[in-house]
Each structure stands twice: as structure tokens, then as C-alpha cells.
Assembly symmetry: C4
């Protein structure tokens, strides 16, 4: 029997039947309450984690807002202090002030519009300073987003209950979808279910030992194999047991990404309805037309019944 894991960081208290502990994309599934938004909020996490299009849109909205604010300030301190406004063929004083603001904030400073009074000169100097800091911040964020290692591992859609040696094993296939190289790759597989034998239902966790739990380089695909032998805590689990006990198989893959020169982490999970019984993965490794070794990642999930 594999040793029970006392604490995997999740609670032992059962939750709603069927709810995942870990989402398919690896994020966790727990709502945090009792803290104010400010206490929970991390600006960096927010700006680094959002998708690219909302991110650029957020920057652009910030740019527009800053310019509106400064345009209003210029109107207040006196737009006559901006030289050259009389030559603009523009619909309103506000737009004149807005255009001057954009030219100060981006430091493009064409000069057709230029400060001539003390007030405008000072506000324009502050605006250029703020513009430089804001774009410095944006530079950092863009780099941070771009350089953050994202192991793009792809997993088979199902965990297979497959024949293995004399008996059976749980099998799962994964591969690196990108050209980057991932080395020193380790896999940890956990199994969790709700044990109803005791006084009250309790969620239990086990580590599932793997045939191979570390590989040197993830060059092709990797099939994780958990033999259902005497060392397995779930050797005698039936299909019915999986479904009734709200079982979940948690996967964690760690490796070193050579392109980013950093550790990468990927997590995912499988529920009972993602298991296929008595099947084995189809071979996806062969030779390309030029004789070079080739792997067909489009077929990563394909299996055949046995």
C-alpha cells in the first residue's frame, strides 16, 4: 500500500459531489472570503495573468484616461498658455488641450503646440515625467508577460485503464507542444476520493507511484504509468468505485525550460468520466518522409480498445 498523503494542501472535508479540486488548466477551485479586495488583490498577478488583448486594451484605456485628466488640467490653468493652439483646425478647446497632452505624455513633443506660461510649462513637465514612468512600467510588464515561462504541455483527453505487464495500469500521455526543450522532467500523481467507511465522509489523498517518475528530456511524448499492483492504493478500485467516491487524479509536472532558463510547472486533473477502461494508446512515433524521427501530436489522445 502506498502511504497515504496526510495533507496535499486541500481540505479533508468533502465538497459538492463532482466539483473539481484542480481545474483542467491547473488552477485551483477554492473561493477565498473574509478578506477585502485590497487584501486579496495583486496588481502584478492581475496584469501578468490576463490575456494579451485585454492587457493591451487596459494599457490603451489608461493612456486615454491620463490624457483626459491632463486635458482638463490644461483647460483649468488656461489653454492660452499653450502656444500654437490658434493654428489647429480642431473642433473644441478640450480637444486642443487633449492633443497637447498626448504630445507631452508620449514625449513626441512636435512643438506646434508648446507651453508658454509657467503653469502650462510645469504641468507639461510633470506630464512628461509621468509619461516616462508609465511607459517604464509598461515596458516591465510587457517583458514580464513575455518572458514568463509557460510550459505548453498537452495531455491526452483520458486516463486509460490499460493492460501492463502481467496486470493493468493507469496510463496518461503528455507531450510538449512547443519547440522549446524541457529537461529534468518529474511527474507527481495524486489520487483523491471520498471515503465513506468512517463515521462521516472524509476526503483522502494518496500518492500514486509511477513506473518512471523522472525523465531526462521531454523530446517526444511521455506516457505516465501507474501499475495497479500490490503497491497501488487503488489496485482494487472498480469503475463504479471511481464514480461513486468522487475520485480525482491530480497531475503535477515540473521541468526546466531551456529557452526561458527557468523551472516550469504544469498541473491538471482527471475525473472519473475522463477515464477509459480497457484501452491502450495508439503509437504516435514514426518516421517523417525524410527519414527523420517524427511524432504526431495531433494523435496524442487516440487509443484503441483491448
Amino acid at each position: 500500500m502506498s502511504k497515504e498523503v496526510n495533507d496535499s494542501g486541500f481540505s479533508h472535508i468533502p465538497r459538492a459531489q463532482g466539483a473539481r479540486l484542480i481545474n483542467k488548466d491547473g488552477s485551483s477551485n477554492v473561493t477565498k472570503e473574509g478578506l477585502s479586495f485590497i487584501q486579496r488583490f495583486s496588481m502584478f498577478h492581475f496584469l501578468i495573468s490576463m490575456k494579451w488583448i485585454p492587457f493591451v486594451f487596459t494599457l490603451f484605456i489608461g493612456f486615454v484616461i491620463l490624457n483626459v485628466v491632463f486635458a482638463i488640467i490644461y483647460l483649468i490653468v488656461g489653454i492660452d498658455g499653450i502656444g500654437g493652439v490658434e493654428n489647429l483646425e480642431v473642433i473644441s478647446d478640450f480637444m486642443k488641450a487633449f492633443y497637447f497632452s498626448t504630445q507631452a505624455l508620449t514625449t513626441v513633443g512636435f512643438g506646434q503646440l508648446h507651453p508658454i506660461t509657467d503653469f502650462i510649462s510645469i504641468v507639461a513637465a510633470v506630464e512628461s515625467f509621468i509619461g516616462l514612468l508609465a511607459f517604464a512600467m509598461a515596458t516591465g510588464l510587457l517583458y514580464g508577460r513575455f518572458s514568463r515561462p509557460k510550459a505548453k504541455l498537452i495531455f491526452s483527453d483520458n486516463v486509460l485503464y490499460a493492460p501492463f505487464k502481467e496486470g493493468n495500469a493507469l496510463m496518461l500521455r503528455l507531450a510538449n507542444s512547443k519547440e522549446s526543450q524541457i529537461i529534468d522532467v518529474t511527474a507527481d500523481v495524486f489520487f483523491t476520493y471520498i471515503d465513506t467507511k468512517g463515521d462521516e465522509p472524509q476526503r483522502r489523498y494518496f500518492n500514486l507511484p509511477l513506473e518512471i517518475s523522472k525523465i531526462n528530456i521531454l523530446a517526444t511524448s511521455w506516457t505516465l504509468v501507474h501499475p495497479l499492483d500490490e503497491d497501488s492504493p487503488i489496485a482494487h478500485f472498480t469503475k463504479d468505485d471511481y464514480e461513486k467516491s468522487d475520485a480525482e487524479i491530480l497531475i503535477q509536472i515540473q521541468g526546466f525550460d531551456v529557452t526561458y532558463n527557468q523551472m516550469v510547472n504544469t498541473r491538471t486533473s482527471f475525473k472519473a468520466n475522463e477515464m477509459v477502461w480497457n484501452a491502450k494508446f495508439k503509437r504516435i512515433f514514426g518516421s517523417a518522409s525524410n527519414g527523420e524521427p517524427m511524432i504526431n501530436l495531433g494523435e496524442l489522445s487516440t487509443y484503441e480498445k483491448v
Copy 2:
């Protein structure tokens, strides 16, 4: 008996009764003397560690000072070398030079003010060069501050002396207040007190073994449990002993922050007056109204007497 830790990096010589070895925020409590300011000072540490508002203020002051310095230089080399100054409706020559300086330093360069002599041209070129380097430095600092992983772990206010299995245990609860995920989390707990049994008082250090010292993911909360059994160096410490011996419990938590893709470290400590005897933590894990698992971090420190 847990093995005594020979050296935790702190001295064995007792200090003033009640002084903390580690502050609540994890910083250490030792004054360094005998080195000059330059030897001790680290500009990066200073600028990275200060709060955001003083940091931006520091940058702004630097911006103003640079402009004052260059304004004076322009006055010295001759403000007549700046074209367009006659059109400014401005209170003094110094301010004219100051505004020209801001426009060169930020590279906004409106051009209403522009160099027409050799001296002014050269100084303005140098100022723009310095401005670009200064904002390059600010860019780096802003990114460095922003991207520095800060595990925002929150700890219960107290260490509890709580019933555990057949006996008792010291318990302490912690959680991640942010949305970011922290994985591969390890906890080390040290105990230190002043031993007065020998010839002269000596501070001693022990490692306190934990029921679970490593978890896979800090998804909810984590209760650190040090069983007060035969393996504990402090199994027979009474409430009185804690207070009289200037005891302190030092906590160190390490993990890998998935958002920042870096190791994070948090330290804190508890003194005798932060211990509560014969109490246990209240349950803070339940279901949100939508049936999703939920944790109430606002109640992290709540306990009930037993």
C-alpha cells in the same frame, strides 16, 4: 528529543528580555555597527525595499534636482543660446532655463525652446543622454519592484496549545491571501529560549518537528502541528516556562510562486504572550452559496477554548 540546533545564525548570547529575534514581518533584529555607511549601504536594497509612495516621491525629487542643476548650467553658459525664450510669458530667466531643461531631460523637446549656440547644444545633448539613462534606471527599478515575488502569507495571531490525538500539540494556521498559487511549500519551525541551568544564561535553539512539514499546494489554509510527544524538545514546557525563559517560536515558510515563477520566503515569529492555552482553531472551510468550496480567511485566527 529533537536534536538541538547548534547554530541558527543567531548568537547564543542572551539579549534583553523580551526582545524579538525575528520581527513579525520576518526581518531580523540586529543592529550592525563598525562599518561605514557606504560599506553597509546597498542602493538596490534601499530602492527596492521602500514603499511605493516614497519611491515615486524619490524619483520625482531626483527629477526636480536634475532639472535645477541643468537650469543653473544653462544660466551660466548663457541663456541667450536658447532660442525662443523671448516668447515665454514666464517669471524669470531661471524658470525659462528650468523649462528648457525639463524638455531636454524628458526628450519631449517641443522646440519652442531650442539650442542655437555650441554650448547650449552640447549641454542639451548631454542632458538628453542623461535623461534617457535615468529613465532606463527607473524602468529597471520599477520592473524589479513590481516583479519581486512577495508571498503574502497571513498567519493566525496566536500559536495554540491544543489537544491533538492522545496528547497535545502546538498549532499555528497560515494561508495565502492572494490569488497566486504557491506550490511545493515547506515549513520549518524553530524554538529558542534562554537556558539558565548552566553557569551563565545561554540562548538555545531547537528544531520543532512537524506532523506535516511539506505540502503540495497551498490551496486553502495550512495548520502547522508540532506534537508535544516524546520527540518534542519542549514537551514539558509550562506556560510559566515560556514566559520566564524568553521563549520565541520562529517560523520559516518556503514555496514556489507560480505567478512569479520564483521561490518565495516568509518568516515570522511568536513570543510567549502570543500563545493561547487549551484552545483549538475554528473551522474556516465550507461551501460558498454556489456550492463551490470556500475558505473564510477573515476567520483565520479564530479559536475556541477547550
Copy 3:
């Protein structure tokens, strides 16, 4: 017998005779199919991995294309909205718009050309905003390329079958060609060949134990030595065996680069035709003319027959 490695991350299915598993530069040799270009493509990997000249050329082409796009927009919204164009001695309206675009995108904003209408003012503001973000991105990429640790290890051209103690050993020499210091260096050597004894040919992998597999600092050169004794899985391999079994020796070196303050990884491989039998490396360590220790890395591969 050294334990067989069950999975090195490569397939056990033999491939074309003579094809390398790992190229001399450490990259792997597997074609990935079945995924769309978008699924496989990583922009960061592409821009970080390409050589410097194509990289700068790519940035420049991007700069030209952006300006062409904006020049066309300016022509569409009306070039009369750009003040000062009448003073340009330039061949076409398109070029006038193009030059104005370059001055907005780089934020140089000379001002001879300047926006006077709403449409042109808005497009110019957006262009300056885009220019700043684009150069922010370029800043990040340049830093990412520059700061990425590249252990410039050089290896001897050949693996030698050399006399060692009472018997023989496989030997391979490596050194750090740069001035940077690499510490805590570990070496892993794998051996793979096609075993034709079974029903169908199968590629097998072994770990080759080294006399010394970790050194403290790679200050001079390091000779990896695999003794061909009873612990070696290939003690009785003949020269003929190496060639017929499509053997390959895979090397992986890891260390900590003190300049970059990061882990560095280098891989390479040797095929049968890169082995030299009954030879030993010439000594390359001596004294420079000033009496200082000196190593002649130009002679790293030189050997003499024994």
C-alpha cells in the same frame, strides 16, 4: 551492471541507422506533426533563439512596415492635416506621410511636420502610443536575449578509449571557453544502442557511471572518465559493436553560472565515428610565461595513440 534507464525521454523504437538522437549543439532531433503552426509556435522562443543579425533585421522590417501602414492611414485621412508638408523637398505625398509617421512612431517629433486636424492628431497620438509599446517590447527582448545564460562549454572532438588504472575507460574532455565562472558542475552520461537480440530491434538506454560526476568549479578543463569495469554496461563492447548497434553517447552538463547567476545546461552527443581507440589526451595544463597557471584550450581535443 549499471541499471538500464527505462525512459530517457526518447522513444525505444529504432530510427534510421546513423541518425542522431541529440545534435552536436544539444538540440533534439524529432519532428513534431499533427499540431497547427499556431499551436506549435512560441513567439518568445522564436525571437529569443534567432541569431542577432536576423533579429535586428526583423525589428527593422517591423519598423518599416508600421510606418508604411501609418503613412497610408495619413494619406487616407488627409495629408493636408499635417502642417509643414509644403516645406518638404520630397518626391511624393506618400513619402511626406511616411516621414511624419517615423517622427511620431519614434517620438522624435521634430515638429516641422505636425498635426493640425482632429483626425491627424488622433492617429498621431495612437501611433506614438504604439511606438512606445513596440520599443518597450524590443527593450524586453533585447534584455532577454542579452541576459540569457549561455554556457559556452567546448568539448573534445572525440571520445577516447583510453588506458585507465588496471583497465580501460571512455574519456571525454570539456572546458569553459569564456571568462565567466561555472560552479557546482555535474555531468550525466548516457549510452544508447539498438539491441537486436530480441524479437525485434529495440533501442536501449544506460546511464554510464563516472569516476567523478560533480566538481566544485570548472576552472580549467574536466576529463569525464567512465571506467570500463564490472559496473559498466558496455565493458565488453568492441569497436565493431559500437558501429553496428548505432550507438550514441549522450552528455548533459549542468552548472551554476556566476556571471548570469543562473543555472546553465549544455548537451551534446558522440557517435561511433567520433570515438578514437587506444589513445589518451595530451596534457594542456602548464605555466604561462609569467609563471601563472595556464591552460591551452586550443589543444583540448589533442590526443596521442598508446
Copy 4:
């Protein structure tokens, strides 16, 4: 007897008597020959490792050279293409072109000088593009230099042969001179000498076991203690042996810097003439006037004879 270290990364061949293997600042002492300058040179290492004043000077020289090159190009393609030059009160056409160049390269673009012909417009656009990339590179370098962790450990001037328990020990004291916190600190100490007992002199290496080789936090000072007991390979070395055998004690300290959130490494070494016999370190830990614990780092090296 401590096990002999077979390879520390240095050669076993003796070098000039008295030459250090590791310099006091931790750099190694081996000259590399046989490679061309290009093969050995690493631009990043060069620019990151040089001191601040030469670094800024190098950037400034690069700035001047770039401007001279572009000034010459402007003269060649025709300075009449630069509008506004007639208004400059400047000594030569070259200087006019030079000033225009500085205004394009820094993107300050005052506009008094502005391009009016195709050739000048194109060259100015290219120059602004190059300027932005150059300052992007400088930004990265400045950040790289600034954010590179430098553990500023200070070591006692001498290794002491001091009384310890029933016998003696080698002792060495170190501390962190900066406010930053270094945690999880490990020390490795090696001993090397030239053994003349065999046929020809051979340099041998030993690991010296420490009383404590890892501490949790380097809050105050840390005294490394190598007991000269039956486990020590150098228990019976006399003062004479140290001097005659060209002995050297190599120190390597590793830790995790909390400010930089990165591993830091420091190395140093001691020769026989830096050893003091029969002395012990003076106590440098006490209380500051405000009762807070205090360490006097200025006295780190002070010892008293015993």
C-alpha cells in the same frame, strides 16, 4: 580521515609555489590560451562585470561615436537638407550636423533643426530607430547590473588555529555587511596542498568537515569551525607543513538573498601566511545603547592570543 576529493575542478599538477588557486575576491587564477579573442569574449560578462564609472563612460563614448558617424553621413548626403541650420550660431557645418544627430538619436527632436529632403529624412528616421534600440539595450544592461545579487560577505583577515573543546580547530569568521537578508546559508571548505611523498609532487584536495555547515539565516556573524580531530585530514599538520606544502584553504559560501530573491555565491581563500596560531576571535556581539542586539562588524577580524 576525511575522504580525499578527487577533482575540485583544478589541476593536480603543482604550479608555482605560492600562487593562489582562488584569489581573495573569489575569481580563479588560470590563464586561458589557444582560443581567439572572439571565442573567449562574452560582451554581457564584460559589460556586467565592469565597474560603474567605466561602464557609464563606455556608454557615453558609444553615444559620442554614434553621433560622429551620423554627423558625417549628414554632411555627405547634404547638410542643406536639414532645415533651420542657418539660424544656428555654431562654429562649423560638422557641429551643426552633430547637434542635429544628437537631437535625432535621443529622440528629443527640438525641431529647430529638422529634415526637409528625402535623404536626410530617411537617415534621421534610421538614427532615431537605432537610438531607441541602443537605449533599450542600455536599459537592459543597467537593470542587469543593478539587479545582480552580490552577496557582500566579509571575512576575517585570518584563519585561526584556536582551542576548541578538548583539542583545537581551524576557525574563520564571516558576516553579511549589507542590510539584505541571506538565508539557507551553506559553507564548503576545501584544503589543498602539494604532496611530495610520491614519485613526483602532486597537488591533493580534501574537504574539511565543519562543526556546522549550514545555518538558517545569516543574521549576525558566523564562525566556521573545522575541528582538528580524528576526522580531519590535516589534524597533524604543523605550521611548517602549511608553509612548505603550499597549502591553501578554499572557502565557498552559498545562500539565498531575500532582497534579490536569488542564490548568491561567494568564494575566497587563505594561504599559510594568513593563518594565526593559538588565537581566538574576540566577541563582537553585544547590546546597542538602546538595548537592541548589536554586532560590531568593524571588529570581525580581531583575535586575542591564547
